[in-house]
């Protein structure tokens, strides 16, 4: 039972990483903006659990896929902005490709069914 739980957690974590990379693809953004963006773009279908967001951001930063910098937000407050690194961009391309392949495959299966 526990094994299933932790498996689904792993899946979520990978997906979340991919979504975060996508969110900062063109612009540097702070954590709150990333969460909001994912929620908006998915029409609130995907809610990023904030408790999981920051660990994910830091993990990606440690892995060298994101770079961070302190800057001023629209509300003129100090905020930490995350930006894609070269390695991050490569990773995003890889993930995007894989995702397209997978979702297309799943879609085909589901249509036949």
């Amino acid at each position: 039972m526990e094994a299933q739980e932790s498996n689904s957690g792993e899946l979520l974590r990978d997906t979340l990483d991919m979504l975060i990379l996508k969110a900062v693809e063109h612009n540097a953004r702070h954590g709150y903006a990333i969460a909001s963006l994912i929620q908006q773009r998915s029409d609130s279908a995907l809610k990023v659990e904030e408790g999981a967001l920051y660990p994910a951001l830091h993990r990606l930063e440690v892995r060298g896929l994101l770079d961070s910098e302190w800057g001023l937000s629209e509300s003129k407050r100090r905020a930490k902005y995350y930006r894609l690194t070269v390695a991050g961009r490569k990773q995003l391309e890889k993930e995007t490709g894989r995702w397209k392949f997978l979702s297309a495959a799943i879609a085909r299966v589901m249509e036949i069914a």
């Binding site: 739980e5 709150y32 904030e50 408790g51 967001l53 920051y54 440690v62 407050r77 930490k80």
Partner: protein, 895 residues
Amino acid sequence: MHEMFRILRARIKAFRKRSELERDLEEEIAFHLTEKRRELEEAGAAAEDADVAAKRRFGNASLAKERSREAWIFGSVENTLRDGKYAVRVLRKAPAFSVIAVLTLAFGIGANTAIFSVMQSVVLKALPYKEPGQLYKLQEVAQDGAKRFPLTCVNAGNFLLWTRHANSAVDLALVMPSMDYLNLKDETVEITGVRASANLFQILGIQPWIGHSFSAGDDFMGRARSVILTNGLWKRLFQSDPGIVGRTIHLNGFPFVVAGVLPESFYFPKQNELYSSTIAGWTHPIEYFVNLALQPSEMRPGMQMFNFAAMGRLRPGISAKQAAAELDIAEAQVPMERLTGVKMQVDLHPLMAAIVGGAERKLWMVMAGAALVLLLVCVNLAGLLIAKGAARAHEIGVRAALGASRMDVVRQFLVEALILSTAGGVFGLAAAYWGVRVLVRSAPVEIPRLQSIAIDERVLLFSAAITVTAAVVFSLLPALWLSRRSSIGTVKAATGPTATSNRAISRIHQALAAMEIAFCTVLLVSAILLAQSLVRVLRTNAWGNVSHVLTLSFSAPPSRYQDGWRRAQLITKVIESAHNLPGVEAAGTTTALPFQGQNWGNDVNFKEAPKTEKDRPNANWRFVSPDYFQAAGVGLVSGRFLAASDYGRPLILISKRLAKELPRGVNPVGAHVYWTPPDSKAPVLCEVVGVTADVRALPEEEAPYTVYVPYWEWPPWAISLVVRTNGDVRMVAASLPQLIRRMDSQIAIPHVESLRDILNDSTASRRFVTSLGLLFALSATLLAAIGLYGLLSLSASQRTREIGLRMALGAQTRQIFRMILSEAAALALAGLGCGVVCAWAVTRLLRAFLYEVKPTDLATFVCVCAGLLVVAALASYGPARRAARVDPVTALKWD
């Protein structure tokens, strides 16, 4: 790879700037909460509600921080340190468990480490020579004539044929053991050395440390005699004199020039390892090398004087098979004279295998026993941990509720286990250090290369590895099992263990306890089979009250006893004065003592039943004085013993087994045997006056054919005085050496041994394996008893309520008692069942080590089962009594 490097760099940076990182994280999350609140307020919520909502939406902020931090820093290291502190606290709270765990682990790890260090230096470490894999020991083997030529040494003349013909395939060196007297200024000492061909050191790839090796001409007689000393001898008897090279020392009264001293690290096999062990056991370390100086009589190729040992180094690119083929061509030129049908061959054995030989299998067996004990220690601890874990279910539940993942709980268990096993490992290593010394001292001399044993880095690595492995083995099952429960329902677990989960735990626990009993059965059966073999070996050989018989062996100094009659005179005098000692019942001499191996093999030809040379039995020839038989306790089968009045007459005795070689109808008493003394060509016809009982040359081998020739026929150099005492052994033992010294102050006096000592020495390796086996088996029994006791105590305490209820409903104390005992009995029987099946399979592997006992000896199996049932009953008595004493009122109030 690239990414790993990046991560490492980031982590190191983060580790240095930890406080900065912490502040940033704090600020980042605060910013997030502010933004959220702002958004909620803009949507029209009240300030207070917005704050609460924002926080609720965010979830567990400290967990998020924790996880973010873990991404950065060496989270695992920090957590492990924290787990470590926590674990030490937990272990301190359960001192009894911790002490048992550390002690049993120390025993298991210590035993394995000690035995591994023996394995490492005896079996695993290469010989300390240049390219040792290329070195071989060579033997001459008679095909179709093994009865006549059972010995497997080398004739020097045949060896010279090899060097002439097979030189392109293999470099060959020849050695011949010799025991010599070293005459120092004011004393004479007997030392053991080797005559060696000049190229021996070159073949081994060893240079003398100071001085030089022999030159090729030294291999033949007529050259100056020279000697090379080992470092040990040089230090011991020459006070590390740096000017020793070129000086003259006296061996057996003859001058030898010291050519060199060998390096300290030099190793050379002992004589019993150079030859096969069936030849008289020379077990002294080799301390010097003299040049070979072959005599013309030794250089004659043929089918006699197989007295030398040969080793060779294969030339590059030559296989052992090719070399053997070349050598066989050379061997075909050996003159066979009248020996038709016998074909001689040269066998090559890797030198390492030839030296280590039988010791390897014994050591592997002991190692397997030790490994089984460590496994049992682990199973035992796993059981105890589960028992403890059941009581810790509450704690684990709370930890899970506070956000500990299954991994965290498993890690916590692993850390606790590692702390325990490391402590055990440290104690174990200390014990092994001490144990190795005991092992070396008590280990049989037949185990080669023992001197080089040390706890080196490979041994340390090994014990570190088994320490970690043991920790994982004994903690993983409990950890996985108990952490699984934490996910069943944290709240449920937190309120206390439930009946169902208890039952599941105790089922695993029961399986572990049964497994312990099964292991224990295997070890006990093996150990008892070995012990029975030892008892039988000793019983077969302990004829004639061996503890009352004293022996003392020496050889007549060659410089002064070249004349045979002088040696005869010496022997006569020695016997006479020994006989006159108070407390001596009989005194005699022989050339080879019982249990010290075969010696002086030669063919026997009866006048009444002559045979072709090939078919004659090969007997051990002993040169004895008339009273030897009474002194040693050798029985008489028929005829009579020799008497002093027979002096000068060619009369002999033969052993019972040899007498059976005579055709039916020929009375052995009165038969005649041809005998050729070593220094003459004419055979003497000797009359058999008696047939003796068979005496074994080695405790576990069939007695050899034996011929007893009176010493006056050919006075031997090697003299073993055998004295039967009336029981007051000590007085006689003290006066014997003085007696010899009074005869001749030039004779070096070795110490006095009883025949019992010699028998014990010759059974030392069996004794060694058996006593370790028994030690392992008994400790295994103790462990299994602890395991069973722990299980039953736990199960009785968990069932306190049930027991109270039963008693309240009218159950008798005796019934409760019986209930707990029957649980124990069921476990023990299940374990025994498994154990007997495993033992049945395992003891087959022991077959080679058993003596007159079948591997499936029924009595042994029955005794072990009965014994273990008794142990199980004893282990369960305490818990059962406690359960039976439960007061129903308190038991029912307990929850």
